[in-house]
């Protein structure tokens, strides 16, 4: 079956082909043709991924590294021992990611055909989507960290292009900025904030290279050391014991990828010193540095504190983009990277602690902000940030499998929610156009189809959307037995384990914050459901809204099914009925073949029940607050939370997004801009270019020349730059001349003086020593 695995480059090249075809010939095809090619490319990639899954199973889950055709290398500097090839890695982790990316991706492609119908740049949208798949696949299949980085930056680029897809919208917002500029600036913001994260990734790469001498995760002919497929089957916590096993074996480090090297070196219990260039640190410290820098990168890509601010703005892109890139796939790249490097994180306690804190804090903070949002997509965006916080916290807690598991389920239900919200927006816009056509003159005010205050009562207008949305909400809120319940519970269980079994503070910290965040999640989701679907329509658009086409609702339904059953991928052991039905820890075991520190969590029924209780309580609270009658008046009276004096301040804070953007502007962006202008105008131009190079270098030179020449030519003076200064020497020269009576005799006198000079010089050569020249 190995030959199936060598097909892995196809997951990159098929979307690439689709992208190129649409790029060059898309304008001749029409919407159907373009959409067909785009969806087919994505679908074929999914098929390849599925084949790889099967092939990997047949290959005893052993990872395989595949060289692509044509490119027999990438960056290769033999004299620096720098060898970075293009190599594709097929292991359980990468195949999981491939399946998610191409599976969800295909559905979203399909949805986009309907959603983007009639857009003048329809072909380009699919070019970008396919390009995104190219880079995302490169990201997850790269066998070295730099190739991963290519995908990493590439998806960032696609994100940039797609956020700014509607850069030319001329609708002007009340604050005087047109929508086109808002979109463009959101795109730029995303790219730049991500670049700050990339700064960390790059530095991590440099440190990795000089510490381990390679950037390959694993070399082509090796398997992860410490991979404990067998142990995993026993559902035991075997991490401590594997260290000893590893230390006993002999390893040739020079022929190992950096992850295995780290595993060997960090498990042998000895102190290793790393020396290169000016750096002289212990291996432990280096690994801590590398992981912290990776965290910075992940914070950028996976929208964690303090770099999450781009993601809410990124909702400016078309909704399929939000679903695919900013919910299901791209934003999880940071989590993927950290899980890929789990060997390093596992041995870096300080980093793990910080990762946990960052993730948990992000989860609760974003959850809180989401409560105060009015924009249907902004709520989901903050929800995404919050859920990504869950995943990152899971990485910090050492629950790598749980993180990936949550990543997968989140991809299902968050994509579902976004697509459904797209369907809502589509419906609203449609309704708006409809009502607009009937009465022309009335609608002076700008209509925002994403504002939940203008919605309401859509339950009857858009039943499929409603039902799928509710399924997604339950999944996200962690209601049994939807997908989110299982994955979120595993994280919570792990945090408890870390606290209880290992006695680490981060466990309880994470547990408290995450449970609260889960409560927030359930609350704002049901608030949204109430505002959007219940009550009466609060705007004409809502009255005229209608269900979207099958092209759009079909993906919703498929994703709804996945959101319901996705959680059973990794059913805990020892559960009645379910374990028998779906097997125990299937997903963790599968992942354990590539994620060496993956382990299955215990199912703590009381914790699960508690979390479920919190969620249910939050939903009921929301149901209570946003009852039908309240919902119907929310457009005029505002949010019930804002009306209640006890919560109004908190709501205002959430509504203002905790002022992150404002603070960034005040303390970072604005100073940067001011300094930039100061440097450019004052320092570089006025001081350095004009003042220094003109006044200090040029003018004295000019003046000196003028002074020596005595009487400067009148024309030059009149035209000259420094009239005033040049007059001085000129006047002196004139006066000198008036005392003297004739030029020829001055000349003769000079000759005589020159003679004296020559005489002195030739007769008294010592004079030079005396004068010191």
């Amino acid at each position: 079956m190995e030959n199936v695995l060598t097909a892995v480059p196809l997951v990159v090249f098929i979307p690439l082909a689709g992208m190129l075809i649409n790029l060059f010939f898309g304008k001749y095809f029409g919407e159907f043709g373009v959409g067909f090619i785009g969806v087919t490319a994505s679908g074929l990639a999914f098929v390849v991924a599925a084949l790889l899954w099967a092939g990997l199973r047949d290959n005893n889950f052993e990872a395989v590294v595949v060289n692509p055709p044509l490119f027999d290398g990438w960056i290769s500097i033999p004299s620096a021992n720098l060898e970075i090839p293009w190599q594709f890695r097929v292991d359980t982790l990468s195949v999981t990611m491939m399946l998610v990316v191409s599976g969800v991706g295909t559905l979203i492609h399909l949805y986009a055909v309907g959603y983007m119908h009639g857009d003048p740049r329809f072909p380009r949208f699919f070019v970008y989507l396919n390009l995104f798949l190219v880079f995302m696949m490169t990201l997850v299949t790269g066998n070295n960290i730099l190739m991963m980085f290519v995908g990493w930056e590439g998806v960032g680029l696609c994100s940039y292009l797609l956020i700014g897809f509607w850069f030319d919208k001329s609708r002007v917002f009340p604050d005087g900025v047109s929508e086109g500029w808002k979109n463009s600036n959101a795109a730029r913001k995303a790219m730049i904030v991500n670049r700050i994260g990339d700064f960390g990734v790059l530095l991590a790469i440099f440190l990795t290279f000089w510490t381990f001498g390679t950037l390959d995760f694993y070399k082509p002919d090796e398997q992860p050391i410490g991979g404990h497929a067998e142990e995993a089957e026993e559902h035991a916590l075997v991490i401590a014991s594997t260290d000893e096993v590893i230390a006993e074996e002999e390893h040739d480090l020079s022929n190992m990828g950096f992850l295995n090297q780290a595993q060997v070196l960090l498990s042998d219990g000895e102190e290793h010193q790393v020396k290169f260039g000016s750096v002289d640190l212990s291996l432990k410290a280096i690994v801590t540095l590398i992981t912290l820098l990776m965290l910075l990168g992940a914070a950028g890509k996976s929208a964690q504190i303090p770099l999450f601010v781009w993601l809410p703005d990124a909702m400016a892109g078309p909704t399929p983009v939000s679903a695919l890139i900013h919910a299901a796939t791209m934003v999880t790249a940071g989590v993927y990277m950290m899980v890929r490097a789990n060997v390093l994180f596992h041995h870096a306690e300080v980093s793990s602690f910080i990762v946990t804190v960052i993730g948990a804090t992000t989860a609760i903070m974003a959850g809180f902000i989401a409560v105060g949002q009015w924009d249907v997509k902004k709520v989901l965006a903050y929800s995404t940030v919050s859920q990504l916080g869950f995943m990152v916290a899971a990485v910090g807690l050492g629950a790598y499998a749980a993180a990936i598991f949550h990543l997968v389920t989140h991809a299902f239900f968050k994509a579902l929610l976004f697509l459904a919200s797209g369907s809502i927006i589509h419906g609203m816009e449609h309704g708006h156009h409809h009502s607009h056509d009937s009465h022309h003159a009335h609608h002076e005010e700008e209509f925002d189809p994403q504002d939940m205050r203008t919605m309401g009562g859509l339950r009857r207008k858009m039943p499929i959307t409603y039902w799928t949305y509710v399924i997604g909400t339950f999944a996200l809120a962690g209601i049994f037995p939807f997908a989110g319940f299982w994955s979120k519970d595993e994280i919570l269980a792990d945090s408890f384990r870390v606290f209880w079994d290992e006695g680490e503070l981060k466990g309880i910290f994470a547990l408290m914050l995450l449970i609260t965040a889960a409560g927030f999640t359930a609350f704002y989701m049901w608030r949204q459901v109430s505002l959007v679907f219940y009550g009466e329509p609060r705007h004409e658009a809502g009255e005229h809204a209608s269900e979207s086409s099958l092209l759009m609702t079909l993906p919703l339904m498929i994703l709804a099914v996945l959101s319901i059953f996705g959680g059973f991928l990794n059913t805990p052991s020892d559960l009645p009925l379910l374990t028998d039905l779906f097997g125990a820890h299937k997903f963790t075991d599968w992942l354990g073949h590539s994620v060496v520190n993956a382990h299955a969590g215990e199912f703590l029924w009381w914790l699960a029940l508690g979390a479920l209780g919190v969620a249910v309580f939050a939903i009921f609270a929301a149901r209570q607050l946003y009852a039908d009658e309240t919902t119907s008046t929310v457009r005029i009276t505002g949010d019930p939370l804002a009306r209640n004096p006890q919560t109004s301040q908190a709501f205002a804070l959430a509504n203002a997004k905790l002022l992150w953007d404002e603070m960034y502007f005040k303390y970072l962006e604005n100073p940067f801009n001011v300094a930039s202008r100061f440097l450019a105008d004052r320092v570089d131009w006025q001081f350095w270019h004009d003042f220094f190079h003109h006044n200090i270098v040029y003018l004295p030179f000019d003046q000196g020349a003028k002074g020596i020449s005595g009487n400067v030519d009148k024309v030059v003076i009149d035209k000259g730059i420094m009239m005033v200064f040049a007059r001085g020497p000129w006047e002196i020269a004139r006066r000198v001349r008036r005392v003297q009576t004739g030029f020829v005799r001055i000349y003769a006198l000079t000759i005589l003086l020159g003679t004296v000079l020559v005489m002195i010089a030739i007769l008294f050569p010592d004079i030079r020593d005396i004068l010191g020249i």
Partner: protein, 522 residues
Amino acid sequence: MQLENTGVSIVSAVLFSPLVGVLVLLFWPRLTDKQVRIATLINTLVTFAFSLLMLSQFDSSKGMQMEQVDEWIAGLGIYYHVGVDGISIWLVMLTTFIMPIAVLASWTGIEEKVRLFHGFLLLLEVAMVGVFVSLDLFLFYIFWEVSLVPMYFMIGMWGSKDKVDFFGREMEARIYAAVKFFLYTVAGSILMLLAILYVGNKAETFDFMLIRDLMRSGQLVFTEETERLLFVGFFIAFAIKVPVWPLHSWLPDAHVQAPTAGSIILAGVLLKLGTYGLVRYNLEFFPNAAIDFAPYIGALAVIGIIYGAWVSYAQTDVKKLVAYSSVSHLGFVVLGIFAMNSAGIQGAVLQMVNHGVSTGGLFLLVGMLYERRHTKAINAFGGLWKIMPIYSGFALVIALSSMGLPGLNGFVGEFTILVGSAGSDTLDIWYTVLATIGIILAAVYILFMFNKVFMGPVTKQENQELEDLTWGGNWYELSALVALTVVIFVIGLYPKPFFELMDGAVGDLVAQLDATLQVAMK
């Protein structure tokens, strides 16, 4: 020591084939402007073909090769000695590649004194190739200085029509820029001339290879002080050309005022004469001084990286923005060179090529806009992507390449340089950290420019009618962009052969440097 005369080498063919064009343009009695352009284009393409032939004959296992030696001024030990190694061959390729693009860039932009302009272009090509291939200090210096003259005229005669307020007096900006360019570079190169004279006298020959052998065999040794002085003599000349911060003051003037082709060549090749010189002469001849000075020069490079990026963000003129970005990009190159290890230097050499392609491309793009809109103010544009989708697509690729997007050429160079500097024995790790910040800043200013010009709604009426690129209408612009884009992708995705060819030469140099470094560290 003597060198034997050899037969004619292909390097000479590359070097002198543009001279044919110069002579034709000088003496052919009647030529229409169009014929002049076509003849020049063909000439530059033929030169490029010659250089491809040269590339195909290159043997990466050998060091300096395809040498041609002819006795020139025997009494002074001066030879006509040319040849290429893994370092110079890429710069020659860059030059011969950029030249046809420069010709295409001036296809409609230059309408006055067309013949003279193209004559200067070709003369400039001879001079630039000459700097890269000459293996005799005297010959090198000749080409170095000659490269000044055509550029001086190109800026001064065909530059922009802007006026500047020159301390109360209105003045043609291009003339100020041309004179400044000339004087700065001359001021730098005279110090180098002294250093060359000193070395040549000491070695009793001006031949690069002979001097190198003498130095490596320990027959030619300078005292510490002398070596430092000589190093500085060479360095200042190169640093002005590069330009290393804070000697960059001539650059915005020259870049902004030069005609499009001039900017392309200036950014594409001329600045590389400086960085090439640093590798070839400063590191090769004065390793001890180079090691001593490396931290300071590295600091200048890092300051240049950040400063250039920061300053370009505040520019309101597209061309000036790109000009300042060169300060930043060339800072990376200098950083790589003075990392003094294989990765750093190879990255630097590749980055020279990359910068030539991508910044040359940016200037080409700006030139096209200027021709259409007759302004370079960033505020005058907006939403061009809607009006000129094909043009904007190319602009995106080239801007991203300049920004260092992985998978495109700029990243490969910057990454390799930073890998080098991170593990450098001469530079502290903090240099790398700060330089990496420069990568963030690159995104800031490039995206600022890209957003302002290409994104957003179209608000200006003048922009509505801008002409996009088509094969039928403006094939010359399109073909130039296609050529650049292909190179951007090739280097970005498959730089292996580029590194392979230079590995021998750089490895050799680094082995020498390492030996010196080992002694220095003890």
